[in-house]
Structures are given as C-alpha cells and as structure tokens.
C-alpha cells in the first residue's frame, strides 16, 4: 500500500520535541508532529481553587486543551467548544494513571495544552507534550505516557493518520499507553472496523506509542542528560 505522503503503513510523520521551552510555567514542552505545533505547560502542585474540589489523599489533575483561532483552516472562535472540553477530559484521564498523585494531597496540578497549528493527531501530540511538561515540572511519575493514533484509510490499517487520511479515512483510533507496562490510558475510536481490523490497529498504535516513547526519552535527555 502506498500512502499519500509516501510513508509506510507503520511510519510516523516527522516528530520534533523540546523540553523546557517556557519560563513562567513550572514545566513545559513543545511538540511538532507533522504540521501540528503544540505547546504544553504545567503549573503545580498548587492550591486547589475552588477548595471543595481538593482531596485529602491525593492531588487532583486538571487539563485544559485549547486550539488557537488561527490553528485551523477556517478561523475558530476563541474559547472552549465541546470538542475541546471532551479532549481536555480524556487527556486528564490519559495522564492520571502515570502521575503519582498521592505525593501531593490537597493540591492541584494544572496541565495546559495549546494547539498553535492543527493537522490531525493534536490530542496525541498534546498528551505527548504534556507528559514531557509534567516531567519538566518535577512531578513524580510511574511512567511516561506516550500517544499515537492508528486507523484505517484506503482499506488499509495504518499508523498516525495525516490530515488527508483522517478526512477521508474509515476509522481513527487515538491511543496512549504507559510504555513499560503497555497499559492503555487513552482510547477513543470512531469509524467502522471489524474485530480483526481493530486488533491489528491497536497493535500498530502500541508500536507507534513506543516510537514516541523513544523520542520523549531523547528530548528529556537533551535537557536533563549529563
């Protein structure tokens, strides 16, 4: 099978990562993934506002995902839409299992993801960047979280769909895993797949996540390595 941009079925787009790109945030990272440009920042642990959300046995983790008005073809109105709210929620769910929240009871960790340019796969890029920002902020983690999508286009199961493949595609499965245990922490899917196709796609996505994991480790080494 030949893909529009010449990639092999299990080949990622170009991915570039940088840790610690912002000064005010406690932790930050930048991920360029194909034409996606995504920043993530982390603030915390800090006081919980409003207070009644605080939990005495662990920190709470809140995630805001936002796309800038100029990140997409037709200008997007500023402010959260329903898609952004949902992605913020599942992103928090994807990161939580890896963060040792028990370290900071009664406190809050805020993850912010800002998509400057969107080109299919922003939520995976966001989770990948947010993980780096969490490490950069010194938040203790059980494991990294690495994200990558698989899907179906032109009747083939492929990794990391491009915008074009996503638009005309038959299925898209954004996924995130904790690479050492291969536990899945993000899973969404839409499209139409048989059980066998789904299984193939999930396995392909796990492979993609693991490639991302290597790039994450390199980016962290670039900043924190000896």
């Amino acid at each position: 099978m030949k893909r529009g941009d010449g990639r092999k079925k299990d080949e990622l787009r170009n991915v570039r990562m940088e840790v610690g790109v912002l000064k005010r945030a406690d932790g930050s990272a930048y991920v360029e993934w194909g034409n996606n440009k995504v920043f993530a920042s982390v603030y915390g642990p800090r006081e919980v506002i409003p207070r009644f959300l605080a939990r005495n046995d662990r920190a709470i983790l809140r995630c805001k995902y936002n796309m800038t008005p100029f990140s997409v073809e037709d200008r997007k109105r500023p402010g959260p839409d329903r898609r952004s709210v949902e992605i913020g929620k599942v992103t928090a769910g994807a990161l939580e299992p890896a963060v040792i929240l028990e370290t900071y009871p009664n406190s809050m960790i805020n993850v912010n993801i800002e998509v400057m340019q969107a080109d299919a796969g922003t939520r995976c890029a966001g989770i990948t960047a947010a993980t780096l920002a969490l490490v950069d902020a010194g938040i203790p983690m059980r494991d990294l979280v690495s994200a990558c999508a698989a899907g179906k286009a032109n009747d083939g199961i492929i990794l990391d769909l491009s915008k074009e493949e996503d638009n005309k595609g038959q299925a898209d499965i954004p996924m995130a895993i904790m690479p050492r245990s291969e536990e899945v922490t993000l899973l969404q899917m839409d499209g139409i797949l048989t059980e066998d196709e789904l299984e193939e796609a999930l396995k392909l996505a796990v492979g993609g996540c693991k490639s991302i994991y290597e790039l994450q480790k390199n980016a962290l080494m670039a900043k924190y390595g000896e």
Binding site: R55, R82, P97, I173, V184, D190, I192
Partner: protein, 271 residues
C-alpha cells in the same frame, strides 16, 4: 466521577471488590448482564421521535426534533445531527444548574458518535436543497434519575427515539408538506459500557460500581458486528486483551439489546 474518598466510600469499595473476587455483584447479576431494560417508544407526542428508557433505576428521556437549516460548507448535500445532554439537577444531588459540564458534554458526544460513526443515518437523504437547506436533527437527552451507566441508557433511548421519528417531506421549492416519513435509518448501533473493578469487566455498572471503578470503557457496535466507536473513560488503564474482551462482550450484548428495542417498537406500534 470518583467523589471524596470518605470512610464510607472506602468501606464500600472494599466490599464491592470482595464481591467481585467471589464472582458476584450486589444485585446478583452476571458480569456481562445489563440491568432490566424498559423502553417506552414515542413517549413525547410533541416530539417528532422520542423514547423513555429505564435501565435498572436509571431513567432518561430522549426527544428528537427537526428543523431546516443550512448545511455545513464541506458537506453541502448532507443533513446534520446534533446531540445535547442536560444533567438536570432533578436527576442527582451532584448535578447543578448551568451550562453542560464536561461530564454532560462527554455523554452527549459518546452517544452521538455511537450513532453517527455507524452511518446508521443516511444523511444524504436529509438534504432538501443541496447547499441551501437540509434537515437538522436535534437529539436531546434529558436525565431524570441517575442510578448509574447513563451512557448505555441514553444510547438506547437515542437510537429508539430516532427509530420512532417521523419527518416532514419537503416539496421541490423547499417548503414542508403534510406528508411525514420515517427518518432514513439503516442500522441499529448499540453502545455498551463496562467498568473494570478488581481486574474484572462488569457490564452496565450500577451507581455503586461506578463509584468504585478503576477504569471505564465503552464500545459501540452495529448490526453486522462491526465496532463503530470506543471511548475509555476518565482514569485507570486497560490491557489490550481487556479491550478486546470488552469488544466481544459489547458485540454479544448489542445483539440482545437490538432485539429488545425492535420488540418495544413493534409492541408500541401494534398496541
């Protein structure tokens, strides 16, 4: 959805974990069994389509209304479905007035995708005048009583309401006529939700099971056994094998629920 881990919640969690270890549930169901399902199709006569659904003690109503409007620029010859959910304060002590929060938004979007992605609705047949006027199909979800697993209850209610929906035929000039026809539906996608508790998958979690869950997964399947949508819920994680097990359970259970829906409509039409 886990609230404050107070002592009682902690004891409850231990108790349910222990039950699960003994292959049991509080209400004596099997792990892969839904609570009792009661469906009243066409419950709201003022709506073009509707359904009242009880899933155990959970009670929801879905109403379908039409309007004619502009199509999206990139799909000028297709109608539009839009799904909203209100967590009315009536339904739970935790629900508050105000614009939909993230849980209500996620619910609406998961129910929506379960139907949309299956291509159950032939949206091309919802075009009145290409590029100018199409049907807008509003699917509005109202929660009456939240006793766990809103997703499945609302999924059942939404597809049933769509199956009962009648829409006006428009003439060539784009004006509505008196004639009413069913909504062009060619599938009955079913959405099933499972939670992982103590390393077991429990289908259709009751409220207490939701409160102690480790993680949640939702799988929508169509009449042909295809998977058409999935969503892992907030928190926790799954192994690949667990995901595939959830898919199998959902396919099996989907068949049963599809029959229950069909029968309820048949009964309503004949009775």
């Amino acid at each position: 959805m886990v609230s404050e881990m107070d002592p009682i919640a902690s004891i409850k969690k231990e108790y349910i974990n222990e039950l699960v270890a003994q292959e049991k549930r509080e209400d004596d169901r099997a792990f892969d069994e839904h609570r009792n399902i009661k469906i009243i199709p066409n419950y709201i006569k003022k709506a073009e389509g509707s359904a009242y659904v009880e899933l155990g003690d959970t009670k929801v109503i879905v109403g379908v209304k039409y309007d004619a409007g502009k199509p999206f620029a990139d799909i000028p010859n297709q109608g539009v479905m839009t799904t909203s959910a209100e967590f009315a304060p009536m339904a739970s002590p935790e629900f508050e007035s105000g614009p939909p929060g993230e849980n209500a938004i996620e619910l609406a979007r998961v129910v929506d995708r379960g139907i949309r992605e299956s291509e159950a609705i032939d949206t091309k047949k919802l075009c009145i005048i290409p590029g100018e006027k199409v049907y807008i199909v509003f699917v509005d979800i109202q929660i009456l009583d939240n006793c766990g697993n809103l997703i499945d209850a609302c999924g059942i209610a939404a597809i049933t309401a769509l199956l009962t929906a009648r829409m006006p035929v428009y003439d060539k000039d784009g004006n509505p006529t008196e004639e009413m026809v069913p909504l062009p539906l060619n599938k009955i996608p079913i959405t099933c939700t499972m939670v992982k508790v103590n390393n077991k998958l429990l289908l259709d979690p009751a409220l207490d099971e939701e409160k102690v869950l480790d993680s949640r997964i939702t799988v929508s399947t169509d009449d042909d056994g295809n998977i058409v949508a999935m969503q892992k819920g907030t928190g926790g994680s799954f192994k690949l094998e667990e995901i595939m097990e959830a898919v199998k359970i959902s396919k099996e259970q989907g068949k049963k629920i599809r029959e229950i829906i069909k029968n309820s409509i048949k009964e309503e039409e004949s009775g």
